[in-house]
């Protein structure tokens, strides 16, 4: 099969990844807004969708430099079909992880899933020397550990301060004002997310186009790539990853409008500041840390640490798990032949995603029940998994 056919497959899977990135990360910007009822669930998700779409058009700097610090680009460009298969297998690993974690309602990083998938596929293709381990430590691992801790500390301080300052304010004004503040901070987060995350897929498609020789190595991201990626992440956000919205909004702590505003402002501040210094933080980790911090900042310091621990464990295994998936996908593609192997892997991926989707219908989480009390559904890795609420 020709490399153009594999390129079409890569672009299709990349757009699929962008879509899963959208619905997986909807929660980062809108979960507190939905949990505190600052906006109706559908309205919040629609706002996030439009702003993610708009955000995707604002900058192309990340798209131009994506993956440059993770793997040796010279290795990926050596063989046209193998290079495309590496990108394809990396995307497959990332989608498998995104779909699985969505099913369990786990807020995990789509960016790290993509990086892990590409690393695994690259190691399968050219060995460990083709991976820039220094870049991974400085650009992925260190910020991953720092991001949620920073967000947690800052949100705890902001929530405590806000709680102390509004003790004398009447509840109606406080609640109304904080909800208005939440809408503003949620909008800011959605734009920042669209700007950062859509570009990662644009970068991957651009890399595939370069690997195929469709465009030159120094060519800019084509306009159609920008439009398709913006539409995919916007549509994905609009579908709404209700399971993860539920975990972030109801699972870690019971959010008040004051906590919601403090956590969302913290997330916006940490993401924009780190972006300014070129530190690619995961928006999911920052949002999770902020929500946990806002729980610590309350009088009762009520946080479900057991759930937080299980989510942290999933973060630790994101890179190795997606790496293994990416490597397996690459071995299949290479073993059967890059063209046919990619088709078979793509079909297996579609079957797995369909299976997970059908399984999720058994305990459907949607706009109508996303704010149900924690424990009312089969929650993510909770001990109450098989125990109905109130039993």
């Amino acid at each position: 099969m020709s490399s153009t056919f594999i390129l079409i497959l890569v672009v299709a899977v990349a757009v699929g990844f962008d879509f899963t990135n959208g619905f997986h990360d909807t929660a980062n910007a809108v979960a507190p807004t939905i949990a505190t009822k600052a906006l109706k669930p559908r309205t919040a998700v629609a706002m996030g969708s439009v702003l993610n779409f708009v955000g995707a058009f604002l900058s192309l700097k990340v798209a131009a430099t994506v993956a440059s610090g993770i793997v040796q680009q010279t290795d990926i460009l050596q063989s046209r079909n193998a290079g495309l298969a590496v990108v394809f297998a990396g995307l497959v690993g990332a989608i498998v992880w995104n779909v699985t974690t969505w099913y369990f309602g786990i807020p995990s990083s789509s960016s790290h899933a993509l990086i892990g998938g590409v690393i695994g596929a690259m190691m399968a293709y050219a060995g460990g020397s083709a991976v820039l381990w220094g870049g991974i430590t400085s650009k992925v691992l260190a910020p991953s550990i720092a991001a949620p801790i920073f967000a947690l500390v800052i949100a705890a301080i902001a929530t405590t301060l806000s709680r102390q300052l509004t003790q004398k304010a009447d509840n109606d004004t406080k609640s109304l004002g904080m909800k208005a503040g939440q809408i503003g901070s949620s909008a800011l987060l959605s734009i920042a997310h669209g700007t950062n995350d859509a570009q990662k897929t644009m970068g991957v498609i651009t890399l595939a186009l370069i690997a195929n020789g469709t465009i030159g190595a120094d060519a800019a991201t084509p306009k159609w790539v920008v439009v398709v990626c913006a539409a995919a992440i916007g549509l994905g956000t609009f579908i709404g990853g209700w399971r993860i919205i539920r975990t972030l909004g109801q699972g870690f702590t019971k959010l008040s409008p004051t906590q919601g505003f403090a956590s969302q402002m913290t997330s916006s501040a940490v993401i924009l500041t780190s972006s300014h210094f070129g530190l690619p933080l995961s928006t999911t980790y920052v949002a999770t840390g902020s929500i946990l911090g806002s729980g610590i900042g309350t009088k009762k310091r009520s946080v479900r640490w057991s759930l937080a621990g299980r989510v942290a464990l999933s973060w630790l295994i994101t890179l190795p798990a997606t790496g293994v998936c990416g490597a397996i996908a690459f071995y299949i593609a290479r073993g059967v032949g890059y063209g046919l192997g990619s088709v078979l892997t793509g079909l297996a991926l579609a079957a797995y995603a369909s299976f997970i989707f059908l399984r999720s219908r058994r305990d459907k989480i949607n706009a109508a029940n996303v704010n149900d009390a924690w424990g009312a559904h089969h929650e993510a890795f909770e001990p109450t998994l098989d125990t109905p609420a109130g039993a």
């Binding site: 700097k61 406080k174 403090a262 940490v270 780190s274």
Partner: protein
Amino acid sequence: MATVTAPTPLINWAVLWKVLFISGAFAVITVALFTIGLRCASQFRSTTSSALVRTVNLLVSVVAFAGIAYIAYLGIHYILSK
């Protein structure tokens, strides 16, 4: 004479600290301004306070929300200029 360059550190602590302090200051100042604005607006609405107290509360509230608007402007401007 050959020059010896120090290897690039794997973790850039200086940048991490900068992110912590700048984002911390940005978030805490914004939340504090917003909260003060709300508190003063709430006290301005209170009919039991004197006219002077209500006027001061109104002024503080306006200044706090103007500060928030400026910070929001900076944030949007930064996103658009990236």
